[in-house]
């Protein structure tokens, strides 16, 4: 694509069924049907790059004519302001609400006749930004570039009104630097936005967890009012797992078959999936154990997680100050001696809830964890199967300084809380330490007592 045209209301000119039509950028699944304005010695015309190349015929208004008649006049300073008007045989092209683009009459003064010419890479950058939802600023407000209100002069991005050129620069820079965050100038200050497409990930190691999973998912939907995607990895057949998934999650869950043939696999339920790249399009990724209940609307908490940068979050159980070192294998005790000099495990956390703001940004952490895990498993004896993954996470987080205790605070989690049903105050209620025989029943009674918010 060389250069595309945006209508006054930020729709892009496309070819659809051989006709020229304007479509909102954020509704396009891809950019293959976007047409571009091309100079061909005799004049300007519109041409597709689908990747097939079809020229627009201004007489018939179609792209499939054998010998297209092609001469469009362009008025305006294309290479500076970028705003132009197009004229054909019958007057100025204007964009109708229906999406039709017709050359008709003398309507040059109307904004419907204004188009913005954009470089192909800029359109791609803008399209990526407009398709995504964002978490904006300190108040974690959800923002999306609103195609209904935005124009080619200003973009409505959440509560911000951003000049088009500033927004384009932000989108372009994000694309160029392959970074997650969008840094946008508006109202004389700079604003940081991060993409928001949450996923909640469960990894089941045994069939007994299915009953807990059903309760956890119910709490996620009913109390958490969760609207994002869910991914469940297990070695069980899909049909068996599906029976425990609430109907509300239909179309929003994905099942991954993960072979868990031995004790080693069960000791590392998360890492293989997180490092595989299958969550790279999500932010944040929240790994929950099936024994975790969600007690209140979760959306705002997830937005805060998305802003977590390149750190890992989990509920802190113990802070090791001074010469205090971990004693429990689940806090990495079995690896403590292997830590490089100058590094120390400062926080002992639980793996019941693990938050990764973005697996793409945590690539180094995850790959280092996998490398360490494989290297350590290669040794003949490994003393702590049951806490293996937790230990590795502690070890690598300590080496890379990748753990942020503020990401998941005590306010977010009730850890093994003795609280009676109805007296829970954290967003996540971790029930892992409860007696196996009573856990499901207690989780159920807690779930029944939790307040449901009317959606």
């Amino acid at each position: 694509m060389t250069s595309a045209l945006l209508t006054y209301d930020l729709r892009v000119l496309c070819m659809e069924h051989g006709k020229l039509i304007a479509r909102a950028l954020d509704t396009l699944a891809d950019l293959t049907h976007v047409v571009s304005l091309q100079w061909y010695n005799g004049g300007w015309n519109l041409v597709t790059h689908t990747p097939e190349r079809w020229w627009y015929d201004i007489n018939a208004g179609c792209f499939d004519r054998c010998v297209p008649e092609a001469r469009i006049e362009v008025e305006g300073d294309l290479f500076d302001a970028g705003i132009c008007r197009l004229t054909g045989l019958d007057g100025y092209f204007h964009a109708q609400l229906s999406g039709a683009i017709t050359p008709f009459g003398a309507m040059a003064h109307r904004r419907e006749c204004r188009f913005r010419l954009l470089d192909g890479d800029d359109v791609r950058a803008l399209w990526h930004v407009m398709k995504e939802r964002w978490v904006l600023g300190d108040h974690q407000r959800l923002a999306q570039a609103c195609s209904g209100e935005s124009t080619i002069w200003e973009i409505h991005f959440g509560r911000l009104v951003v000049e088009f050129k500033d927004f384009l620069i932000a989108a372009r820079e994000r694309q160029r630097l392959s970074q997650q965050a969008l840094l946008v100038m508006a109202e004389r200050s700079i604003h940081r936005a991060v993409p928001y497409k949450p996923v909640v990930f469960y990894s089941l190691t045994q069939a007994e967890q299915l009953a807990e999973l059903a309760l956890s998912l119910r709490s996620l939907v009913e109390c958490g009012r969760y609207q994002g995607n869910v991914c469940i990895a297990s070695a069980m057949p899909a049909q068996r797992v599906e029976a425990f998934i609430p109907a509300e999650l239909k179309g929003r869950y994905r099942l991954v078959r993960l072979s868990m043939g031995g004790e080693r696999d069960k000791a590392m339920p998360l890492l293989a999936s997180l490092v595989s790249g299958m969550f790279d399009d999500y932010a944040p990724v929240v790994c929950l154990k099936s024994s975790v209940l969600v007690t209140r609307p979760i959306d705002k908490t997830l937005r805060r997680f998305a802003q977590g940068g390149s750190s890992l979050g989990a509920p802190v159980e113990h802070v090791f100050e001074g010469d205090d070192v971990p004693q429990a294998n689940k806090h990495g005790a079995f690896l403590g001696a292997a830590l490089p000099e100058g590094h120390k495990i400062r926080y002992g956390f639980t793996m019941s809830v693990v938050v990764l703001p973005s697996t793409r940004q945590q690539k180094i952490f995850l790959e280092e964890a996998l490398r360490s895990a494989v290297s350590y498993l290669g040794k003949p004896r490994h003393p702590a199967y049951a806490e293996y993954e937790a230990g590795i996470f502690h070890y690598v987080a300590a080496v890379l300084g990748a753990f942020d205790p503020a990401l998941l605070t005590q306010r977010d989690c009730n850890l093994n809380d003795p609280a009676m049903p109805g007296q829970v105050d954290g967003t996540f209620l971790c029930c892992e330490e409860w007696l196996d025989s009573h856990r499901t029943a207690l989780m159920r009674s807690h779930l029944e007592s939790l307040p449901r918010t009317v959606s």
């Binding site: 990747p51 018939a60 004519r65 010998v67 008649e69 001469r71 991954v256 993960l258 868990m260 790249g277």
Partner: protein, 466 residues
């Protein structure tokens, strides 16, 4: 991460399946999703899934999706360059008689070639895969060639009738001058091969030409024996086109709907199609008018066509130099005269061969743009024999035309007493080499002489046992 692909002794690739590792045929793989590559895991090696995902293969469960995969290997070189053995904890990897990849204990020498593999970088492998999936025309005679995976091994490849050293073939693939062309050494000689994925294009506008189109298709079926794709650009309904096709050819047909409103549209759609990219997959692409009868098996001509470097068509010697012929571009030439340094007859685009549309597009685009600009400036009826004139003018000027192939296999048909038909041999069956263009016929319906001629050719071929 550096990744390698493995080739087994019998030219197969290890793939992961429910039952474990098995060896798959390279050309039979639709995607590379199941192919196992070799990647570095810590200080050792292991199998992992094809990019972009990073899923390590587990030797215990035989799957690439285990939470903690087991199985680290070391690479051991052998006496032969490029061939290695893979040592796992329990022994060496070896291909079983059932095409499974197992770990076998003991001295690997006793398994011979089965325990050896060729390592090639993943990028080279993807190119080799692309070559193995395609059919090629092998020069200079246009032999139809593919990699024979049943006879090839990790030492040498059987490509058409040639044996090629594996390393040399891989090197040729990496140095491909273009994706559609291979230059390689085999048996101490140099060879050139070109991609062969033929298509035959008809343009059918208006229902008056349907009968001719049907007769031409019947000749393409027999004696043309064409089994490849047929493309029909038309403004008619697909039902009308299908009803005109012999039933056995309907599956070969792909219809491209175009809009046509006036005479230039009716006779000038080829350039638009060439330039659009919709025909990019074909090599060669043969355009035929509806009044062309095929009089010999078409595949040898198409195979030779794939090896051509420029577009080809039949010369109209009887019209003299193209610069003075109204039907061959005189109007355009008069506006923009250029010195060619020789006399050249104009060509007739009734049979027009493009060796590889994608590779030739940069040469065909100027012709299309010339048409667009000239029509825009001078009006839609300003060029006589619209497309043919533009092709003659533009392709000659940029030196992108070579008549040799199509001129040597095309005759003119029609009234047998016409001097031009006589000049081309009066449609004698014994000189049938490719095509007869029935433009030299005075009657309204050319399908009648075309049909009679085709039956005559079939009878002749039967009598001669051809």
């Amino acid at each position: 991460m550096i990744r390698y692909a493995l080739i087994t002794h019998d030219f197969r690739v290890p793939c992961a399946a429910e039952e474990g590792l098995f060896c798959g045929r390279l050309g039979g793989l639709e995607t590379l999703d199941t192919v196992m590559s070799l990647g570095q895991k810590g200080d050792k090696w292991s199998f992992l899934s094809a990019p972009p995902y990073t899923l390590w293969y587990d030797f215990l469960s035989g799957r690439p999706n285990r939470a903690v995969s087991a199985g680290l290997m070391t690479i051991e070189t052998t006496n032969e360059s490029g061939l290695v053995r893979l040592k796992e904890k329990g022994g060496y990897l070896s291909v079983s008689a059932q095409d499974a990849v197992d770990v076998v204990e003991g001295d690997p020498e006793r398994f011979g070639d089965r325990s050896m593999f060729r390592l090639i970088p993943w990028e080279d492998f993807t190119k080799l895969w692309a070559v193995a999936r395609q059919t090629w025309s092998l020069g200079p005679d246009g032999e139809k060639a593919t990699i024979d995976e049943w006879k090839s091994s990790f030492r040498s490849l059987k490509f058409g009738s040639l044996w090629v050293d594996f390393d040399q073939f891989c090197e040729a693939i990496m140095k491909q001058p273009a994706p559609h062309e291979l230059l390689f050494m085999a048996e101490r000689n140099v060879y050139r091969a070109a991609l062969y994925r033929p298509g035959v294009l008809y343009v059918v506008f208006g229902d008056k030409v349907l009968q001719e189109f049907r007769t031409s298709l019947e000749s393409l079926m027999n004696p043309g024996f064409y089994t490849g794709e047929i493309l029909v650009a038309t403004n008619l309904l697909s039902e009308q086109i299908e009803s005109a096709m012999p039933p056995s050819m309907r599956d070969q047909c792909r219809i491209i709907t175009m809009s046509a409103f006036d005479y230039p549209d009716y006779i000038s759609t080829r350039q638009t199609l060439f330039s659009s990219g919709v025909l990019d997959d074909y090599a060669p692409l043969l355009y035929m008018d509806g009044d062309i009868a095929v009089n010999a098996p078409i595949e040898p001509n198409l195979l030779r066509g794939a090896l051509e470097r420029m577009s080809s068509a039949q010369l109209e010697n009887f019209n003299g130099d193209f610069r003075h012929s109204q039907s061959n571009g005189a109007v355009l030439y008069s506006k923009d005269p250029y010195n060619l340094g020789r006399t050249e007859a104009g060509f007739n685009t009734g049979v027009f061969l493009v060796p590889n549309v994608k590779a030739q597009r940069h040469l065909l685009d100027p012709a299309f743009l010339t048409n667009l600009i000239y029509t825009d400036m001078h009006g839609r009826g300003s060029i006589p024999f619209h497309e043919q004139s533009v092709m003659n003018y533009a392709l000659r000027k940029i030196d992108a035309f070579d008549a040799t192939l199509i001129n040597s296999v095309t005759d003119v048909g029609g009234d047998p007493n016409s001097p031009i038909v006589k000049e081309y041999g009066s449609m004698a069956p014994e000189r049938a080499r490719g095509f007869v263009h029935f433009w030299c016929y005075g009657g309204a319906n050319r399908s009648l002489p075309m049909g009679n001629y085709t039956r005559q050719i079939r009878h002749y071929r039967r009598r001669k046992g051809l």
